[in-house]
Each structure stands twice: as structure tokens, then as C-alpha cells.
Symmetry: C2
Subunit: 180 residues, 2 copies
Amino acid sequence: MVAAVAVFAERGFEGASTRLIAARADTTQGLVTYHFASKDDLWRAAADHVFGILGAAFETGPDEQPPGGREVLRRFVEANAAHPEVFHFIVDAGRHDNERMRWLVDHHLRERFEQFVGFNDASGIDAATTYYAVAGASSLIFCVGPECRRLTGADPTDPAVIDAHVDLMLRLFAANDDSS
Amino acid sequence: MVAAVAVFAERGFEGASTRLIAARADTTQGLVTYHFASKDDLWRAAADHVFGILGAAFETGPDEQPPGGREVLRRFVEANAAHPEVFHFIVDAGRHDNERMRWLVDHHLRERFEQFVGFNDASGIDAATTYYAVAGASSLIFCVGPECRRLTGADPTDPAVIDAHVDLMLRLFAANDDSS
DNA sequence: TGACTGCCTTGTCAACCGACCAGTAATCTC
DNA sequence: GAGATTACTGGTCGGTTGACAAGGCAGTCA
């Protein structure tokens, strides 16, 4: 499953082969199609897996206060740094109007978007533009890691870079929110 | 060429087939490999094409003033809205440390990045985080158009949405720059 | 003990992939 | 107008793809 997430994120749905995923997981292609009836099913399971990890980053412990806006944003950026695969799933699926895109929206993105709208009481077009601005600004640098290293010299897996990006996101998107 | 750009953007390098590109351009696969020795060469030609279009959006006419920071940002967002394929090329190539990524950085992205660093006199880690924040925030909504429509109801090809996104980007990234 | 079940391996299938090649027709050069 | 160059077609090649089928092989229950 970890292998499937990695390969789908690295190569996209079309570019990922069930044989490569199987090899990465040290099994055979036959076994993959035994456990997951089709490549589509495997992709959905991989998406469930990686979005589950992301969601866990926002869970509140039993004796914790629900985090404020700044803390949520910090966790969001750090989760993107730790799991850039999420962004690849979103971009890979989001550009086609097909069944996978609709499934991803209905099963994972809708919930996230409505949480976001709840935090920032925006609506309509503003909600959409703000949501995608936050998502894009927070995620891109971590999702093109090799490019970023070659282009800028900065390594987005370096904690110093992650901290700098968190600070920038806080300055950009949480300037007038000092809760948490 | 327009067909190649579209297919590479829609399906990524691995997912795009020379046969599909040929069909989209109403020719044969044999002709594609005649004009472009390999799929890699075709990809590079497509990248040159689409980055050329993007670059033209920033050119200054013979009797124009060079645009100020706000105007450059506006043009950048509008160019991303008109040509979301650029972002797909970047994300598709940028996640691997391979020859295509290095070529794209050296032939197209380096120049853009250094122009950016010139405008915003940042350096080191700050330059990197700011660059990717601007790029991600400006582009994402236009690159996952079908998803955005289903998720938020807003259509990122709608001029009203584009204008709203331009305004948001100006508020976020050009708050203390009132030139132009 | 013998039938049954779930997990897994191996092999095979048609479809598709990028690359290549022989052959053809049109255009250009002298 | 003969010869050379260029543009293009159709077909074919080895290799890869997702899906499927047949069989083995432990474990379980009657």
C-alpha cells in the first residue's frame, strides 16, 4: 500500500504499472490484482490510505483544545511537507473530468473544503479562490522537491526550509488571526 | 504541437502516447516520430512551445513602460488561467530527478526564477519559499479546473473567478507595492 | 481423512506502447 | 527532364500493459 501510494504519486495513474507497484512491495503482479480487483480499485485504496494519514495530522487528542487557525495552518503545511503524495493525487486526478476525479472530490476533498470554509467564513467564489491559493502555496514546493533543489539550491525536506515556509504561510494567510 | 501540449498536460509524460497525440492532431504516429526523433524530443518541443506562449505575456511593447510589480503579477495569474498546461509540465517533471526535470530547469525555469528574484529582492531560502508560494497559489485553481467546478461550484475559466483570483493574489503578494 | 476455503504463484491473453523501416509521392535543383 | 531531397504512409518489431485463469499449498472444520 505504501508502495502503491509512492508509485502513483511519482508517475501518475496512467504511468504507474501494477507490476512496478508489486515489485516495489516485493510481491508479484498477480497478487496485486488478486487483492485489488482492478488498477482503479488499487488507486482508490491508495488514496484512502494517504488521505487518512493527512487527516490524522489534524485530529485533536482527548484532552487537547481544538487548535486555532494558526496551529491548523502550521499542521497543514507540515503535513504537506511530510506527505507530498497527497498533492500529486489531487493534481493528477483533478485535471480530468472522469470517475476518479469525482470519487476523490466526493470521498475526500469535499469534507476538507467544507472544514476550510468553516474556518475562514468565506463563501462562493472567494471560498474557492482562497482555498486553492492556500493549498497551492502550501504544497507546491514540497511536491517538486528535485526541481526545487536544482532551481533554488534549497532542499524542501530540510527542516529549516519547512520552518521558513510555515512562517511565510502564516504571514500570508493568518495575518489577522492570532488565536492558538 | 498544440495537440502534444494538450495531451502531455492532460496525461503526463508517461501517460501520453504518441499515437494519441497524432490522432488529436489528425495525423499518423509514423509522422510524429518522423518530425521528432523520440517521444522525449517531442516533449521538449511541446515545453518550448508552451513556455514561449507564457513568456510572450510578459514582453514589453516598443513604446510601453516596463510593467511594475502589480502588473507583472496580474499578467502572471492571467497567463496561468489561459495556459494551465504550464503548471502540469512543471509538476509532472519536477517530482523526478531525471533528465527531463534538469532540462526544464536549465532551459525555462532558471530564467523565470532569476527574474522573480530580481523583482522581489529575496535570496536563499526566502527566495525559494516565496517563489513556490506565488507559483502554487497563482496556478493551482486553474490546473484542476474540473475538480474545482465539482468541489466549489466555481468555474476557473469564468472571467469573474479569474478576476477574483487576481485580486486575491494582489492582496497576498503585492500589499506593499503600489507601483504600476 | 477428505472436502473446503483463502492466499499466493505462474503463465497467458489481447491490447497497446515507442521506435523503426521500406515504399511512395511531391517538391526542388541543376 | 533527370536526379536528389524532403514529406508522409502503412506496416512491423520487440516489449510492456491490465486482466484473467489454472493450479499449488497451507489451514480448518466435519
